[in-house]
């Protein structure tokens, strides 16, 4: 997805894992994915650099679609579709 497409996405659930170190954001994503339906979108907010590589890898293995990452000031937003 392009940056503009990501900016226009409306997430069905959002988890704020900012301030937690690895594996905090991954575990937050794992817990939250159960709360949305197939086809819905999950947003994860993180300040942990490793998460940017961790979540796409995990999502792919679990059969979810990684949509992209948006950089904000001091944190980033990761999007995936269940």
């Amino acid at each position: 997805m392009t940056t503009d497409e990501l900016k226009n996405l409306v997430a069905d659930n959002s988890v704020d894992a900012r301030g937690t170190a690895c594996p905090g954001p991954l575990l937050a994503a794992k817990k939250a994915i159960g709360s949305i339906k197939t086809g819905e979108i999950l947003e994860i907010l993180s300040t942990d650099e490793g998460t940017k590589r961790d979540i796409p890898k995990w999502a792919g293995k679990k059969g979810h679609e990684f949509l992209g990452t948006l950089e904000e000031s001091g944190y980033f937003k990761i999007y995936m579709k269940k």
């Binding site: 937690t20 170190a21 594996p23 905090g24 575990l27 794992k30 817990k31 995990w58 293995k61």
Partner: protein
């Protein structure tokens, strides 16, 4: 996955907790075998008190390590274990001999996340059947 947890060192217990979390996110079944020094760390009266746990290879770095964990908001190793158990099938087995060496005879002597006290044959059998085997 099987994890042979031999060390009772606070940094290695933390590493084991983080690896378990990753395995839990991946829905892996994990059997943890708590051997020798690790059995001491799993004792109920020791596990939650970091003053009673050593930093085996680098004792002079323990204070810096503990301070960093707190600053980075990293949860205690026992919490990683508890969370992993909530997310996937994690079984924690305490080696019977190790328990006795470190003053724990009964399951009640160890933290609540421990499932049973076992012998070496159970560990070997689980390791033979597992795809991933780690020794910490």
């Amino acid at each position: 996955m099987t994890l042979a947890l031999f060390s009772g060192s606070i940094d290695k217990l933390t590493a084991a907790g983080i690896i378990l979390s990753g395995a839990a996110a991946d829905d892996m079944d994990v059997d943890v075998f708590v051997l020798l020094q690790a059995a001491r760390a799993f004792r109920k009266d020791i596990a939650y008190d970091t003053d009673k746990l050593s930093m085996a290879e680098n004792p002079h770095l323990k204070a810096e390590f503990m301070e960093s964990l707190e600053k980075l908001n990293v949860q205690p190793w026992t919490t990683f274990l508890k969370e992993a158990r909530e997310l996937t099938n994690v079984k924690i087995h305490i080696c019977g001999l190790a328990g006795k060496i470190w003053g724990g005879d009964k399951l009640e002597d160890f933290i609540d996340t421990a499932d049973d006290i076992c012998g070496i044959s159970e560990y070997i059998t689980a390791a033979q059947e597992a795809d991933v085997h780690l020794f910490i």
